[in-house]
């Protein structure tokens, strides 16, 4: 059966290849540091489960020292020229979309197959099925693209390294924030925040309680970069005791809309790296280093309006149904 561990081995080999090619690229602006950085990520993928908690902690420390103290550069491995690309696009036309579409289709198809067919259950592990299917889709698509396009053998690694470099340290941010969330949970940061909020804001009317809950969800999500981290904290502090307990709101409505208020926070924060920083890097926006880059600014009006809509919806729906 294919499990996440197999995907980690594949990822480890990919990052190792990025590292080696970076080391052998004399024109890379931060050749050695970038090579070490990706080698450490490869080590985490290949050997993470044998390193133990402290071993992994030291690994993270090393990653932060190599990639967090000074900026990492972006490698520019040789690739095709614009003319070659236009020429290839004119010749190959819409077939070019096929390998790109295989990946999401394989992810969806694999997930469905693993749930509903015997062969699928035998092939793909039932935990994190979609991610495993996504990995398989990438591999399948890579083989097809290689057989069809016949580029130099190292081209996929070189092109992958170019894209990975443009994402840079942001690739690690979601994982780091999730780990910070685990530390916060162990230290009961959530409980303390809850006490503070309830002491500071007089939640004397349903509207105040709803507004405090929704704004608290958005604000804490902005800090943590993830509505999943904010939800248990804010719901235990304000949502359940006040909106539901004191004023009689419907818990399903309160939670469903509260989570979506948190998503509005996700749209506004650079901490949500995989949604807001990674695309800015991938799309090579000139302001990608700014705290509020173009992606966040484009989202801001929608996020603010929807946050207001969520407060209104919760106020008008939760006490009625």
């Amino acid at each position: 059966m294919i499990t996440l561990d197999h995907a980690y081995v594949l990822l480890g080999l990919m990052f190792l290849a990025f590292s080696i090619l970076t080391l052998r690229d004399p024109e890379h602006p931060t050749r050695v540091r970038s090579a070490v950085f990706w080698a450490l990520v490869a080590a985490s993928m290949l050997f993470g489960s044998w390193l133990g908690g402290l071993g992994n902690g030291v690994l993270v420390l090393a990653l932060v020292v190599v990639g967090g103290l000074k900026a990492l550069g972006v490698g520019r491995p040789s690739t095709t020229t614009l003319e070659q690309r236009r020429d290839s696009a004119a010749r190959r036309r819409n077939s070019l979309f096929i390998p790109a579409l295989i990946v999401p289709l394989a992810a969806v198809g694999g997930t469905l197959a693993a749930k509903h067919t015997g062969a699928g259950q035998w092939l793909i592990s039932s935990t994190q099925t979609t991610l495993i299917a996504l990995g398989l889709g990438c591999l399948l698509s890579l083989f097809i693209a290689m057989a069809w396009l016949r580029p130099p053998v190292m081209a996929p690694v070189q092109e992958g390294r170019r894209l990975m470099d443009s994402i840079g340290w942001a690739a690690l941010l979601p994982q780091m924030l999730a780990s910070l969330g685990a530390v916060f949970l162990a230290a009961d940061v959530g409980g303390v925040v809850g006490e503070l909020v309830t002491q500071a804001v007089p939640l004397t009317s349903p509207l105040l309680a709803v507004a405090a809950y929704c704004l608290g969800m958005a604000l804490f999500t902005v800090i943590m970069g993830n509505a999943f981290a904010a939800f248990p904290v804010m719901t235990a502090a304000i949502g359940l005791p006040f909106v539901v307990g004191q004023f009689g709101g419907n818990p399903a409505i309160v939670c469903a809309i509260g989570m979506l208020a948190g998503f509005c926070g996700t749209l506004m924060t650079p901490m949500a790296a995989n949604f807001n920083v990674v695309p800015a890097n991938l799309l090579e926006l000139p302001d990608r280093e700014a705290p509020f880059n173009g992606v966040i600014r484009a989202q801001m009006p929608t996020a603010v309006i929807i946050l207001g809509v969520n407060i209104a919806l919760m106020y008008f729906l939760a006490f009625r149904f």
Binding site: A100, V193, L285, A298
Partner: protein, 241 residues
Amino acid sequence: MLVLLGIAVVVVGFVARINPLLVILVAAIVTGVTAALEPGVEVRELVQAAVATLAAFGEAFNDNRYFHITWLILPVIGLLERAGLQERARTLIAQVRAATAGRLLLSYLVVRQATSALGLTSLGGHPQMVRPLVAPMAEGAAEVQAGGNLPDRVRFRIRSMSAATDNIGLFFGEDIFIAIGSIVLMVGFLEQAGIIVEPLQLSVWAIPTAIAAFVVHGVRLLLFDREIRRGLAARDAETGR
């Protein structure tokens, strides 16, 4: 109270624009150490607390490696870009006469939100869809409008809006699907609090916000074409055309 220093470190680190990886690790250690802080505690015990926190952080780090699986697509996308994928996406959309950047993104919003609501969240995404296809198509449509190259300001604004549209479609679609992570989290959380709700009850109440998000962002996208036209007119005025 003191454990909140960890949050303060995150906020200050962000305001001071220090690298977030560094800030997060420091915030974690500060949180672990302040949690162990009490009257009469010895320095040695605080050092132990710091080491224990680093170990807890490392363990969580290892448990959360699955975030990286998405990057497996990068070699494929790079390979296809090398063969002209972005260029083809542009040409294709330029052939559709009625296409404008705003209308194209509006159709993408419909597809992204609808497929997310059916649980097909992996159909979109920034490395898979936005960079290779959606952004080049939106730029291509605007290039037809402009009759040539786009000014940088307009080009990057279109790219930003493409990424924003993917996020908004995903966020306000996925919660309608009953088996998504956030719904599972809510059901589990309420169960611990002694409240039993069905996933369907939660997902139904995500629909009003989903409709509102579609209307708000959809209107913004239709107005977006006007913004692009203004951007082009400003460029033409500058160059004296």
